[in-house]
């Protein structure tokens, strides 16, 4: 387990054979202490942390230096919600005030990211000014940024200087022939490059930047957009390329594409992957390196736990009127409480897992969970805006993704009623764990072959899931029920927006 320890060269890069055991799904016991220290409160780098800690993005970086076929910066609809779109731009001073206001109101907020809406490193002055201001007034907040990588090699030293210890690079290809179908142009050193030359230049700069960061011990997450028919098979190769350069975590995300977004892919009818296609690709890369599966593809001005967006509470107007009292001690006390909860959760999971020891079964089933956070089954079925999906096997409960069911912008889902939308979103699951559920939806879910379970209300998700799975296996073994395979499910398009 400690094979990949010592140096910050990512996951298992030095070891031969076996799977790297750090990264998103892993817990404290699976990684070197200094790496755990860096990721344990970072919701985007640790699946386990994302149930407890929140992040915020500040939109200080509007300019971009490349064009991607899945992005359209012009489009500006009030209901729009994708990476690259924001409600309002901020100056570094406004951003610093916002960070203090949010961190004082939401003590779970541990991470400040700059992710756009353009590219942070195409706006280096605004980005680093923001980091300078925040590191002075709120030194306990972790800084991170997300970039397309084109300008990255020029800024690695500044990134290190500001102690930004998490950097995300979006890498969709390592082959310019594939890249030219994703990037129409890049702007570099006063020149616009197009075609293969553009993709080649971008790829070289991305990989160079990644190597420079990992050489300095900065954790790197790689984001890749899965575009069926263009780079879906190729992402396995991308995964190998970034792993060999010391990347810590790989996040393969589904393409968000609809005609109303006005993107090239939206207009050409390029589809995104289904839930099963996405999982199959993530599973096939997992043999190489642990995968991030809890990404919510949030906006460049998102605030809150992943899966919620409280940005509407913190508009510039509201922030500027707020009296902010930044109290590190209160925050510390809150985090200590969270850590106690986390330990209890992990202990409960382990205890339950031990009771599975000796059970032999090849069955793997998916279940959906309605949760408001803290790793508990604590959301009513009818109130859930998303369901978290876990894969259950005799190895335990593994988080594999989430399914959105909120009602904003029905892109592609028509005007059908809410329950049908939910059933389609979790139709690959055998059961749904909820805090409470009404009689009608219960009957409808059963008719659709999904078991509605409310007996674990308020309890830990993973422990409950394992208990449910144990019962399921017993019933199958006893002939009480016959195991049936479930179908595919829809991935809902778009990121969260405040309700």
């Amino acid at each position: 387990m400690q094979r990949q320890a010592a140096e910050h060269k990512g996951c298992g890069t030095s070891g031969g054979g076996g799977k790297a055991s750090c990264g998103s799904g892993a817990g404290q016991r699976d990684m070197a202490p200094e790496i755990w220290e860096k990721v344990k409160n970072h919701p985007c780098y640790s699946e386990e942390a994302h149930h407890h800690y929140a992040r915020m993005h500040v939109a200080v970086a509007p300019a971009c230096n490349i064009q991607c076929n899945y992005c359209n910066r012009k489009y500006d609809c009030a209901n729009e919600s994708r990476p690259g779109v924001v409600s309002e731009k901020l100056t570094p001073e406004q951003a610093a005030k916002k960070v203090l206001a949010v961190a004082s109101t939401i003590p779970q907020m541990t991470v400040l990211g700059i992710a756009g809406p353009g590219d942070p490193l195409a706006n280096p002055e605004k980005t680093f000014k923001t980091f300078a201001l925040v590191s002075k007034t709120a030194p306990d907040i972790k800084l991170c940024l997300s970039t397309n990588g084109l300008a990255l090699p020029d800024h690695v030293d500044t990134i290190a200087k500001f102690k930004v210890d998490h950097v995300t690079i979006t890498i969709n290809m390592v082959d310019a022939e594939i890249g030219r179908h994703i990037y129409p142009w890049v702007y570099w050193k006063h020149k616009r490059y197009v075609g293969k030359e553009a993709a080649q230049l971008l790829s070289e700069r991305q990989l160079m930047g990644l190597e420079m960061l990992t050489a300095r011990g900065i954790l790197c997450k790689i984001n890749s957009v899965m575009i069926p028919g263009i780079n879906d098979q190729h992402l396995v190769e991308v995964n190998r390329a970034v792993k060999s350069r010391g990347a810590f975590l790989h996040n393969i995300m589904p393409l968000i594409s609809a005609p109303e977004h006005g993107t090239v892919f939206g207009l050409t009818g390029q589809r995104g992957p289904s839930a099963r296609e996405l999982k199959a690709l993530q599973d096939s890369c997992e043999g190489e390196m642990n995968m991030m599966r809890h990404c919510r593809q949030c906006r460049a001005d998102a605030v809150g736990l992943l899966g919620e967006d409280r940005s509407a509470e913190f508009t510039t107007e509201k922030i500027m009127a707020m009296e902010v009292n930044y109290d590190t001690e209160t925050r510390k006390a809150y985090h200590a409480k969270v850590e106690v909860e986390r330990r209890a959760k992990v202990a409960a999971k382990q205890q339950e897992l031990d009771t599975l020891a000796g059970t032999n079964s090849d069955l793997k089933v998916l279940i959906a969970v309605a949760t408001k956070g803290s790793g508990l089954v604590n959301e009513h079925f009818g109130h859930a805006k998303e369901f978290q999906v876990y894969e259950l096997s005799t190895a335990g409960a593994k988080f594999i993704g989430h399914r959105r069911v909120d009602l904003y912008c029905q892109g592609g889902f028509g005007e059908e009623d809410n329950l049908a939308t939910i059933t389609r979103a979790i139709s690959d699951c055998h059961a749904v764990l909820v805090a409470k559920i009404g009689g009608c939806p219960k009957a409808d879910l059963r008719a659709a072959g999904i078991d509605p379970v409310d007996q674990y209300a308020g309890q830990f998700i993973e422990k409950s899931a394992i208990t449910w799975f144990k019962n399921y296996l017993e019933k199958v073994a006893g002939g009480e029920i016959a195991h049936q395979r479930r179908g595919d499910a829809n991935i809902r398009q778009g990121a969260y927006i405040a309700a």
């Binding site: 509007p62 300019a63 971009c64 230096n65 064009q67 910066r73 012009k74 500006d76 731009k89 809406p117 353009g118 195409a122 706006n123 702007y187 006063h190 020149k191 616009r192």
Partner: protein
């Protein structure tokens, strides 16, 4: 002729502003504008006008035909 930015198409992303070698670009009411008195169409600086090269919205930075053509000093 100088260049101009078609305001209705400008997304206000600010990418052009720092690229202009003549500091001719400024922000007003959320979109960007070119001062035709300062714009040289990048002649003498670069092969192509930088605002056109970096702008994410096609055909938004265009030649303003109402302005006299820029004449570089002989």
């Amino acid at each position: 002729m100088a260049l101009k930015i078609i305001a209705s198409q400008c997304s206000g992303c600010s990418a052009c502003e720092p690229e202009c070698p003549n500091v001719a670009i400024f922000e007003k009411n959320g979109t960007f504008w070119i001062n035709p008195k300062k714009c040289t169409e990048c002649i003498g600086h670069f092969d192509t006008p930088q605002c056109i090269a970096v702008c994410p919205v096609e055909n938004t930075c265009v030649i303003d035909t109402s302005q006299p053509r820029y004449q570089p000093a002989a």
